[in-house]
């Protein structure tokens, strides 16, 4: 398990509401490891049997993920198509199937990406260390 500090692109907290976090069981359909932020695409089967196509914004940039041990190969291998995940997102305020990813565990509940919560930067400086990203 690796906790990855969040370096959110500006505006993340405007688009999403972490206070209404929800955890979904999903199947990864694609993972895009690229700037400005990685994206996990996953399907969620709802109670009525319909499949919702979700998109999750990974707030740390590829650079930050890599610094924390999540290089491209490892990430794409972990989240390859068909992988079952439990994913906690702050859903979009627009009510669309989009969210900022706060935590992902595997099917058994073993944490994978976590500590993706909280908006850093925020306009008043960071927490030191690596420094908070501006944007």
């Amino acid at each position: 398990m690796f906790a990855v500090p969040l370096f959110a692109h500006h505006g993340t907290e405007i688009s999403y509401d972490r206070s209404k976090a929800k955890t979904l069981k999903g199947t990864v359909t694609d993972f895009r490891y690229a700037n400005p932020h990685p994206i996990v695409f996953f399907d969620v089967t709802e109670a009525d049997g319909k499949v919702a196509h979700w998109v999750g914004e990974i707030a740390p940039t590829p650079f930050t993920l890599q610094q924390n041990g999540w290089g491209k190969n490892r990430t794409l291998e972990t989240f390859k198509k068909g992988t079952i995940i439990n994913i906690t997102v702050g859903p979009s305020r627009a009510g669309t199937p989009a969210g900022v990813v706060m935590k992902i565990t595997d099917e058994k509940g073993t944490p994978l990406l976590s500590a993706l919560g909280g908006d850093e930067g925020g306009g008043r400086g960071g927490r030191g260390g690596r420094g908070a990203a501006e944007e």
Binding site: H9, H10, G11, P36, V55, E57, S92, A98, G122, G131
Partner: protein, 275 residues
């Protein structure tokens, strides 16, 4: 200065040879965007305040440290009516005391479509790091963000009298004792000063004062003069950059990635073209 130049050249050549040899031996695994991933670099040893360093040598990898943003709201001088009008026209994704935020998909920050951050925004990007080099007649600042390289001319030339607008401006540096004073003119005013949409005009005069406090710390202050948009100069406090272990990485903004992100994440998150 000649020693710095020689040292930098030796360093660059030496690194090139080392990298070539390493790749030739097939020891580097390229598994992160085509770059070597490998083990995490060793951390720098703790700074010894008594350790000698050359205050005129800024070469190395540096990263702005936390503590505060370089553009702090309390520093912003009053804007002229023209400056205020431009500032208010900029729709930003992060709230500040002087402006409400919109979803990024509804903002108009030029970098959201991979336009250049420009200088000095690159300087204010606290998430970035930069490699500094001394080469004959210049100091180069290679910013990781957007892969931009800034040239600071140190060969004694004057600033251009009627400069063309450039995304990074035109910079001339000189030493005042152990302080590197850099004056920059000739800006492209389509770039934003920072993520809040703070403004500058093509007529801005921007001065930085850089000083190496110890082996691992660079401090910089700046002064922004732009009577077109501000009624008095904007003078900052001290900001620190910390020397880093490791390597500068590729962080180009690829429009194909940014536009994909806009279409698949930013827009649906804002309820635009949601599937």
């Amino acid at each position: 200065m000649r020693n710095h130049v020689l040292r930098s050249l030796v360093l660059v050549v030496g690194l090139s040879v080392l990298v070539s040899m390493t790749f030739a031996q097939g020891k580097v695994q390229t598994n992160w965007g085509g770059q070597a991933e490998g083990p995490q670099p060793a951390k720098l040893p703790p700074t010894n305040p008594n350790e000698k360093f050359d205050p005129h040598d800024f070469s190395g990898l540096w990263r702005p440290t936390g503590g505060r943003m370089m553009t702090d709201w309390k520093d912003v001088p009053p804007r002229t009516p023209e400056g205020e009008q431009l500032f208010q026209s900029r729709l930003v994704g992060r709230p500040g005391p002087q402006k409400k935020a919109v979803e990024p998909a509804k903002g108009n920050d030029p970098i959201m479509t991979c336009n250049p951050k420009g200088f000095p925004r690159l300087l204010f990007y606290t998430g970035g790091q930069a490699q500094f080099y001394h080469v004959p007649g210049q100091i180069l600042q290679e910013f990781q963000s957007q892969g931009a390289t800034r040239h600071i001319w140190t060969d004694g030339r004057d600033l251009p009298k009627n400069p063309d607008g450039r995304w990074l401006g035109y910079s001339v540096g000189r030493w005042e004792g152990d302080t590197l004073v850099v004056d920059t003119v000739g800006f492209d005013d389509r770039a934003w000063l920072d993520q809040w949409g703070n403004v500058y005009s093509s007529e801005m005069k921007f001065q930085e004062r850089w000083r190496r406090k110890d082996r691992d710390t660079l401090e910089v202050t700046y002064r922004l003069e732009d009577p077109k948009y501000y009624t008095k100069p904007w003078v900052s406090g001290v900001h620190l950059w910390r020397r880093q272990a490791g390597e500068i990485r590729e962080e180009l903004c690829a429009p194909m990635d940014e536009l994909f992100f806009n279409a698949n994440v930013r827009d649906p998150a804002a309820g635009i073209n949601a599937k």
